[in-house]
Structures are given as C-alpha cells and as structure tokens.
Symmetry: C2
Subunit: 246 residues, 2 copies
C-alpha cells in the first residue's frame, strides 16, 4: 500500500490534469490541504514536494504554490529500458543481436563498471527496432556479477533490465552522458542512414540501490527517432553541461 502522501500527490496530479487546478492558478494553502485530507501539515508538504520535484507546481516562500501544468511523466523504469519505453508509447520494440562475448575487462570497461582490469565482462551489441524499423545501435557491457544471467537470457526478447530486475538486480540509479556523433560506415548501414549522419548518443551507467554498477551502455540513436527531455529547477538540479575536450 502506498504511503498517504503519495496518494495525496497522485490525487493532486489528477486534479491538475483534469483542470480542477488550472495552469497559472494557485494551489490551496498547506493548511487547507491538511484539513481537506485530514492529515498533518508535514504530510501535505511531502505530497506537494513530489509535484515540485516533477516540475508540476512551483513554490515560493510566503506565497501560495503556483500550478505550472501537467508534465509528461516518465517512470524511472521507462527511462532505463528501451522496451518499456517503446511499449508505453504504443510501439513494438525489437532487438537483433550482432554479437555476444565474454572477455577480460579493458581499462575503460573496468573504470565504468568499477571492477578490476582483467575481470570478466559480457559485451553485447544489438540493433534495436521500433515497429521493425532500426532506430538504435546498442553496445552494452555487464560485470561478472550478472554475467551468467545475461548469457542465459533470450537477448532478442527485449528488456534485459526487466529480466535482471526479476532476478533481484534492481536498477535504482542512472547516470547519463549525452552527445552527438557521426554515424560510422557500419552504424550507417545498420540504421539505414548515410555515413556521417548525426546520431544522438546516450552513454549510461545503471546501478543497484547500493551503488553497484550493473550495466554500462552506449546507445546511438538515429537523430530523427528520439528527443531527450530534462527538467530542472533551482531546488532540483541533476543536469550538467560538460566540456567534450579537456
């Protein structure tokens, strides 16, 4: 059963979506909401903090909260899994395996997965499709910890993330590096675009609740297939702009 504050957050989200609290208008005060839901002010604050986090309402000390609007909410799981994302948007996801191998970790792989050079890693390359159309080239690396599970999976079925979760390897954190690259000759052929065509590259590390790296992946998307959306604010900032060159 979800916590009371989460229920309240959900009800408020719903109310905003249905126009009960219109965009640009003020949310009731914390005291009013506490009375309405018969909870303490602390619980109300937890609830509205969720909406502030989403960027759905804005808070300023001394004034009532402003409704910013409904935001396209994406669960963490949808962001971590190509298959879940595709399915939730009404597309049929697919995967074609190009290669799978077990090997000794090279320096970069060891750094990314926080293991030692020479430790086992599984390397996997796949083409990912949306409705049978190729949209992304995926190069993934997994630490020895999950190697046997990866090798035992049906890698064309789609979501490795979901299968790992079912085995108890929960993805709790993600760290993403996003840039633009030119399609190599191979990538161009696989994706059906011209060589040198722009690709949106998303390199990311998934970690367990204890911070243990579970997977590193380099995903290169056709530029016409995907747009990444990030929201931030003075109170919640997880976004940074890095120099590509030292």
């Amino acid at each position: 059963m979800a916590a009371r504050y989460q229920q309240i957050a959900q009800e408020l989200r719903e109310a905003i979506r249905q126009g009960e609290y219109a965009i640009g208008t003020l949310l009731p005060s914390e005291g009013d909401l506490a009375a309405r839901y018969a909870v303490s002010r602390g619980t109300v604050r937890q609830a509205v903090a969720v909406l502030e986090q989403d960027g759905s309402v804005a808070a300023r000390q001394g004034a009532r909260r402003v409704v910013l609007g409904e935001v396209p909410t994406h669960s963490f799981a949808e962001m971590q899994s190509f298959s879940m994302w595709a399915t939730s948007r009404g597309h049929v996801p697919g995967a074609k395996v190009l290669s799978v191998e077990v090997g000794a970790a090279r320096q970069e792989e060891a750094d990314r997965l926080r293991i030692n050079v020479g430790d086992d890693v599984v390397r996997l390359q796949r083409i990912r499709t949306l409705d049978d159309e190729p949209v992304m080239v995926e190069r993934s690396f997994f630490p020895g910890l999950v190697a046997e599970h990866i090798l035992a999976m049906d890698l064309t079925a789609g979501s490795i993330t979901e299968q790992l979760t079912a085995l108890g390897f929960v993805h709790a954190h993600g760290d993403h590096l996003i840039d633009a690259v030119s399609a190599t000759t191979l990538e161009a052929r696989l994706l059906g675009v011209r060589r040198g065509s722009p690709l949106l590259r998303q390199r990311w590390l998934a970690s367990s609740p204890t911070g243990q790296p579970l997977a590193w992946s380099e995903d290169s998307y056709r530029h016409d297939a995907v747009i990444i959306n990030v929201r931030n604010s003075m109170s919640a900032n997880t976004l940074a702009r890095l120099s590509a060159r030292s």
Copy 2:
C-alpha cells in the same frame, strides 16, 4: 544565512569529497548524525535528502545509506547560463550578435512563451565562443515582458540570464529538449565545421518562480564541444525519452 540542514548537507558533501566517508561505505545512521550535529532527526533527514537528490548517497529502508561518491555538481545557474558555465570551467566566454529584432509572435513562438500570436517578441541570434573559438549558434526568443530590458543590454557582454536576474527576472525552472541535428550550410560556416556535421541541439524554456516563461532558446553546439550529463534515480526522475516523430 543558510538553513541548518543546508550547512549539514554541505559538511557531509565536504566529508565525502575528502574521503572521510569513502565510496561504497556506509554513512552514519540518522540518529548518530542527529546527535553529532545536535539537531533533530528531521533536520538530518532534510540534509541527507539533498545528497540523495544529487545522487551522492543512496538510501534503502532498513539499511544505512551508502556513499555513492562525489558528483560533478553544477549549480542551476551554471546550467542556465553559457557564460557562467564557461567561466566556472576556466574558459573565456564570448558572444557575437548576428541579429536582433522585435516582431510579432508567430504561432510557435507564442506557444513556447505562452503569449498570444501577434504579441511582441524579441528575436536574437548570436554565435557563442569559448576562448575565441566558435562553439555554439544560439537563437533566442524573449516575451514582451522583458523586451525593453533585452534591447537595452550589451548583448556581447555575455550573460543575458545574469542581467535579467539582476533586474528581478529570476530563472527558477528549466525545461530542456535535447537532440542531434545536421549543421546547415550557414551553421557550418559560422562554426567552422563541414555542412551536415552533427550538432548537439538543446532547446530550452526558462521560467520565473511563478512559471512565467522568460526565454526560449535553441542552442546548437559543435559536437566536439559539449556533453550533457543527467542523473536520475527511482526516487528522483526528471528525465524522459520522447519520440522525434508522432
């Protein structure tokens, strides 16, 4: 004066940075920290919530928090301003104005800035440089609300965001759309790259604390100049992957 919980968060961040709490080890319990800092458990929870938000520590019910590591923290202001970002990284930012004009808002501009078609907008195009090297083409649009201020500014001095902030127009929220595009002939010439070369495009809306749009900008970076970093987690997700085509 900063709140007590912010001071504590800062001290903990510092302690992690200096290796007092090593990566992978456990943070002291909330009770211990409360005693150590002579505050209530609630205040300690506010402090560690800040670190969890940053992705610097991970929490799991029933177990002590795990130290994930120091994270490259970027203030919200640095993300919103090219100049502040460049300066904080030791580069010299520059700007060259290509054009400035006031006009009647077209449909798309009106939608982005939440104004009416035909209302005043300021359109500004600039080349942004790092150490005198062109790295980004910027196309910005401002609503009538701030038009007179924009026109009165020295637009080659760099940060419009900072100048607007000084005038009381605080940027409190950001909403970013990130994708990859091909350089047009004009962009290629301005940036010194080949036509068709990949650019990392970041389109974003900045809003005031009340949700009032203050600026919309389309920034196209040379692909070798910038990488965007985003962190998310099960408890804090502001990241979404959108389809480029409906």
